[in-house]
C-alpha cells in the first residue's frame, strides 16, 4: 500500500447497503443521503493524504460498493 498515491474513487449506489462505514472513516470523501443512508461521493479525486482513509473505506464496505483505481 503506497500511502501517498492518488486514487480514483467510484461508488455503486445500487449495491450500497447504507452501512455508513465509508462516511465514518473517510468523511472528506464520502457522505450519506439523509433519507436512505446511501453513499454520496463527495470527491472522486481525493488528495493523497486521504488515500489511506479511502482504502480503509473500500475494505470496510460490507456491500462491496466502492471501487478504487490508480489515478494517472
Amino acid at each position: 500500500m503506497v500511502m501517498t498515491a492518488k486514487v480514483l474513487v467510484e461508488v455503486d449506489t445500487r449495491r450500497c447497503a447504507s452501512s455508513g462505514n465509508c462516511a465514518d472513516v473517510a468523511p472528506e470523501v464520502f457522505t450519506q443521503d439523509d433519507e436512505t443512508g446511501v453513499v454520496v461521493l463527495l470527491e472522486a479525486h481525493p488528495a493523497p493524504e486521504s488515500t489511506a482513509d479511502v482504502e480503509q473505506a473500500e475494505s470496510l464496505c460490507p456491500a462491496r460498493a466502492i471501487q478504487l483505481s490508480a489515478e494517472a
Partner: protein, 408 residues
C-alpha cells in the same frame, strides 16, 4: 480426530468456553478449528449439521456472496435456537430477507442510524450517561452495573429513537428476555404474542398522534401509503427494540469487566483525553470480546467452494465472526487486548455483508461515551465480588455477564 459426522461433544455447536481460565476467549475447540479445520461441520441444537466458518477471509467471502441466503424460511437454514425458530426467524424484515427486498426496507428505516444522525444524538447520549453516573454516585456502591447502567442506557436510547415510552420498559424488557431465552416453542410463542400486541397498540397510537420518532415516520411515510405492511412493521419494531438494547447492554457489561481485570488498559482509558484513542479502544473491545458469539447464519442456495470445501445447496453455514476476529493472519497477537491495535476497526463484531448491524454506529457511540466518562468520574471503580463468583451467560445469542457487582 473428530470427523464431520461424529456425534461427539467436540462436534456440538456451541462447544463450552473455558470460563475458569479466560472467560473472554472463544471456546478452545473453535480456536482449534480456526488453526486446523477452518471450514468444518458441527451439529446444532435441532440435530442437523452446519458448516462452521472460522477464518476471516472465508467468513467475509461468505457474507458478501449472494449464493448464501439469510432467509430462515429457506430449507436447511441453521437457526440459532428454538426461540428464534418460533419467533424472530419468521419475520420478513431486514434481518431475515435477501436482496432486492433487503435494501428496499433498509433504505426506509436507516435515516435515524446514519453517521450524521448518530453524531447529532451524541450530546443527548452524553447527558444520559452523566445522569446515570450522577445517580450511581448518589446511591453509593456496591451496585449492579448491569441493572444501573448497562441495561438502562441502550434501552433509553432505543426507546427515544423508536418512540416507545420508556415507562413501558419493564413490560417489554421482561418479555424480550423471555422471548430470547425461551426453551420451548410454547414459551417463545407466548412471549412473542405479548410483545407483538404491544406494538400493535403502539402503532394505533402513532396513527392518531404522530410524534417525532422512527416509528411515527414509518407509520405515516411507509405503512399508511402502502410501502410497508402493518404486520412487518410490528415485527421490525420488535426487532429494533430487542436488538437495540440487549446486545449493547451485554457489551457495556463485558467491556467494563475486562477493563476491571486489565489494569494497564484501564489506566490508559481513564487518563486519555483523546477521542480517537477512545474510539480505537472501543473498536478493540468489540473485536476482542466478540460477544455476538452465535455467529451469522446463512444457507447455501448454490454449490460454493469455501476454503477448499464444497458447500452444497440447502446446507447451513455458521460464520463465526468472534473467531474470525481472532485470526492471526489479520490481527497479530489476536488473543491479546491491545487498545492501540492499528487495524482493529476491520473487525467483524457487527458482521459483514449487507446484513451488517445497522445499529453499529449507535452502539459504538454509546460505548465510546461510557468509557470516556465512567473511569474518569469513578476513578476507584472496582469489582465488588471475586471474578470466580460471576455468572456468565453462554447459552444465548450473546455472551454476557448476568450481573456485574461493582463498588468504589
Amino acid at each position: 480426530m473428530t470427523r464431520e459426522t461424529d456425534m461427539t461433544v467436540d462436534n456440538y455447536f456451541p462447544p463450552p468456553r473455558d470460563l475458569s481460565r479466560c472467560p473472554f476467549d472463544p471456546p478452545d475447540e473453535l480456536m482449534r478449528r480456526l488453526r486446523e479445520d477452518p471450514v468444518s461441520k458441527m451439529q446444532i441444537w435441532d440435530g442437523t449439521e452446519a458448516w462452521v466458518i472460522t477464518r476471516y477471509d472465508d467468513g467475509r467471502a461468505v457474507l458478501t456472496d449472494e449464493r448464501f441466503s439469510a432467509d430462515p424460511q429457506h430449507a436447511g437454514f441453521p437457526e440459532k435456537n428454538v426461540a428464534y425458530a418460533t419467533t424472530l426467524g419468521r419475520d420478513r424484515t431486514i434481518r431475515a430477507i435477501d436482496n432486492p427486498e433487503h435494501d428496499r426496507q433498509k433504505r426506509m428505516m436507516i435515516r435515524d442510524f446514519t453517521v450524521k444522525r448518530v453524531e447529532q444524538l451524541r450530546p443527548y447520549i452524553e447527558s444520559l450517561v452523566d445522569g446515570i453516573i450522577d445517580d450511581m454516585l448518589a446511591t453509593g456502591g456496591p451496585i449492579d452495573l448491569m441493572g444501573e447502567l448497562a441495561v438502562p442506557l441502550p434501552t433509553m436510547v432505543i426507546c427515544e429513537m423508536l418512540g416507545v415510552p420508556y415507562t413501558d420498559r419493564e413490560y417489554f424488557g421482561v418479555r424480550a428476555k423471555a422471548l430470547l431465552a425461551a426453551e420451548t416453542r410454547e414459551e417463545a410463542a407466548a412471549a412473542e404474542e405479548d410483545i407483538l400486541s404491544y406494538f400493535e397498540a403502539l402503532i394505533d397510537l402513532k396513527i392518531e398522534n404522530p410524534t417525532d420518532d422512527l416509528l411515527s415516520r414509518l407509520v405515516h411515510d411507509q405503512m399508511l401509503p402502502g410501502h410497508f405492511g402493518r404486520e412487518d412493521l410490528v415485527r421490525l419494531s420488535r426487532l429494533l427494540l430487542v436488538a437495540g438494547h440487549d446486545t449493547t447492554a451485554g457489551m457495556i457489561g463485558l467491556s467494563t469487566l475486562v477493563l476491571l481485570t486489565e489494569p494497564d488498559a484501564r489506566r490508559e482509558v481513564q487518563e486519555s483525553e483523546d477521542p480517537k484513542f477512545i474510539q480505537n479502544a472501543v473498536d478493540e473491545l468489540f473485536r476482542y470480546l466478540g460477544t455476538t458469539h452465535a455467529g451469522r447464519r446463512r444457507v447455501a442456495i448454490a454449490e460454493v467452494e469455501v476454503g477448499g470445501e464444497i458447500i452444497r445447496p440447502n446446507e447451513g453455514v455458521i460464520v463465526l465472526n468472534n473467531v474470525m476476529d481472532r485470526d492471526e493472519s489479520v490481527f497479530q497477537d489476536a488473543g491479546k487486548l491491545d487498545l492501540h491495535r492499528p487495524n482493529t476497526r476491520s473487525n467483524v463484531a457487527f458482521g459483514y455483508g449487507i446484513h451488517q448491524c445497522p445499529g453499529q454506529l449507535l452502539a459504538r457511540t454509546e460505548l465510546q461515551i461510557i468509557h470516556a466518562k465512567l473511569w474518569k468520574r469513578i476513578p476507584g471503580l472496582a469489582l465488588a465480588a471475586p471474578m470466580s463468583e460471576l455468572t456468565f451467560v453462554e447459552s444465548g445469542s450473546n455472551f454476557e455477564v448476568e450481573t456485574l457487582p461493582v463498588t468504589w
